[in-house]
Symmetry: C2
Subunit: 353 residues, 2 copies
């Protein structure tokens, strides 16, 4: 291919799409034409991307013609319908929805962990992992390579923008309503009353609250988000028998997913050894000095690329277990950045096959 490949961003006006346009601006000489596609509702909007003003076009079979790589960030059912159409039209699809992640013919790729799986894509589709999985797995994978992972017990602290722009809007609306009332949150029912029915995409108010639910109801009382953490971790690490228990909780944070990780390994582990493994791991930054107030937090990790890892300590009662806390920007590494990294590896393949 003499020309630079053509990229389509499908779902360009959502929360992830917006961050994608920012990321593309900092990554020149990778793509030739960039085409922004979305639903009819957003068509015609002008969006700045890579220094150009681009007009958002409607996603159709025709607007997919001539696209080499299509990055999809749209709901599962839209991706399920349109990704195969994009493939038929000649594109390789990098999909950020849950539609194809567990398909054995679709690789689930994190470039720092399993880039080699990118070439084995019989359906022409590559999947991007769930945002919570991504923040955590970037730190877990290098520890697995060193110590042999056996089990994960996870509890998440997920930001509202994980539910898209509507999630962020809902939290801001709710905070505007509760701010200033110093009694709110100290008596039963008062936050529900103050927030009213402006719940946005959530089942309960997020202001001054935590909501132990994300996704839809799966078997046995598990949420779909919790099952994604289990199933995607197993697939990315290639560990079919990995034991995973996750509790997914939404918290009143705009952007930045955090996970409290309890990881059990095949061999004994010491905290300083683990810290060194993580210091040398790609996509990870170690922030671990509690005495100095340094631990991973959403307000620091937002807008940055790596997973921030800290509170690294060996379990007091189990020499094979490590506890740590990880925070990542759910719109960047959790979505747009990982998608862009996969797409760039594909672009390199297309340009120098």
């Amino acid at each position: 291919m003499a020309r630079l490949p053509t990229l389509a961003v499908v779902g360009a006006t959502g929360a992830v799409g917006t961050v994608m346009c920012e990321l593309l601006t900092g990554r020149r000489n990778v793509w030739g034409e960039i085409r922004l596609l979305a639903s009819e509702r957003s068509a015609g909007r002008r969006v700045r991307c890579r220094g150009e003003e681009l007009t958002v076009q409607v996603l159709t079979e025709e607007t997919l013609d001539g696209v080499d790589v299509a990055m999809f960030d749209v709901p599962d059912e839209i991706a399920a319908h349109w990704a195969p159409i994009a493939v038929d039209r000649g594109a390789v699809v990098v999909d950020n929805s849950g539609a194809f992640r567990m398909d054995p013919d679709v690789p689930l790729v994190v470039p720092e962990i399993n880039p080699e799986q990118l070439r084995n894509r019989p359906r022409g589709i590559v999947s991007n992992a769930n945002c919570t999985t991504l923040a955590m797995i970037v730190a877990v994978a290098p520890l697995h390579r060193e110590y042999g992972l056996r089990e994960l017990v996870l509890a998440s602290y997920q930001a509202v923008s994980g539910a898209g722009q509507a999630g962020a809007e809902a939290l801001h609306d709710q905070l505007a309503k509760v701010a200033g009332d110093r009694l709110l949150g100290s008596r039963t029912g008062d936050v529900r009353q103050a927030v009213g029915d402006e719940l946005g995409p959530f089942p309960a108010p997020l202001a001054l609250n935590v909501v132990p639910w994300a996704g839809s109801l799966a078997d046995g009382g598990w949420s779909s988000e919790e099952m994604k953490l289990r199933n995607e971790s197993r697939k990315i690490l290639g560990l079919r028998d990995l034991k995973v228990s996750a509790t997914c909780v939404r918290v009143p944070v705009v952007t930045g997913h955090s996970v409290a990780v309890h990881a059990v390994f095949a061999t004994e582990i010491d905290a300083e050894g683990a810290r060194n493994v993580l210091r040398n791991a790609p996509g990870v930054i170690v922030v671990d000095d509690p005495a100095a107030g340094e631990f991973p937090m959403p307000i620091d990790a937002v807008g940055t690329d790596p997973s921030w890892v800290g509170r690294i300590r060996r379990a007091v009662d189990d020499p094979r277990a490590l506890d740590f806390f990880v925070t990542g920007d759910n719109l960047r590494k959790g979505a747009a950045l990982n998608t862009a990294q996969i797409a760039e590896l594909l672009a390199k393949d297309l340009t120098h096959p």
Copy 2:
């Protein structure tokens, strides 16, 4: 004792003391005189308690004279100094600080779990558990009796009022500053800038953030709060070898501590059996219908007595493990209520020995 016993509330003007005065109002015919004691700073303040206006007195040896039961809610070092003085003056002390909890001569009592230990108090002091331990242990204990507990992996979502009135004030101040700016929390560093140095008792901003730290630095990178969860669980349940790993995280919630619990038992467990055990457990309310939006949350649990338990499900990969989520009012069962319950058992003993 013909008369009703005299009660002293030491630390009457703090966050917990204020709730204590509310609770005492609903519990008549238990106490004769109620004496409110505090530091010189708060002395002279008038506080409504049990329908009377009481004047807060300075804590001295003299104001402790004639007290039968003294409930302490003051910092560790104040409790360490004054509790033995109160005992010398003839009182039984119920202490809510961490000063005596791990003393083998001081029972650590949760009335629903180990009330029998109340009578064995060689130092004349009974300890109240940490607020995070209390929310969780009320649900864990009945499951332990049924299935035999072996291990706990915990992640907390702790409210700011756990750090006292100053914690609640700090969050309200910070929320007033960030409310209305819809970009806050979506870019690096902006929340820190907006909040400035008004951190209150916390090492970082709580507004639009989660802070994976509570307490002081213990050995091996653990926080004192995390070690309390481990050591107090072992002592209350009488399980010297219980494996416990906890991660304690502060969240932007005013009142209501939550804990994601992964509990491993000696025998296989099924979710419906566990749900039945919890439905019949004292101090527990089961709220567990995710499809209907019912799960335990701080905005619902605040101002109520029980621990709210939900998201009850058996681990997908371990038939002996149960995952659930629990929320309790950290100022009530987590502090004032449990203290009042202990004190009332003592009052009954004093009145009908």
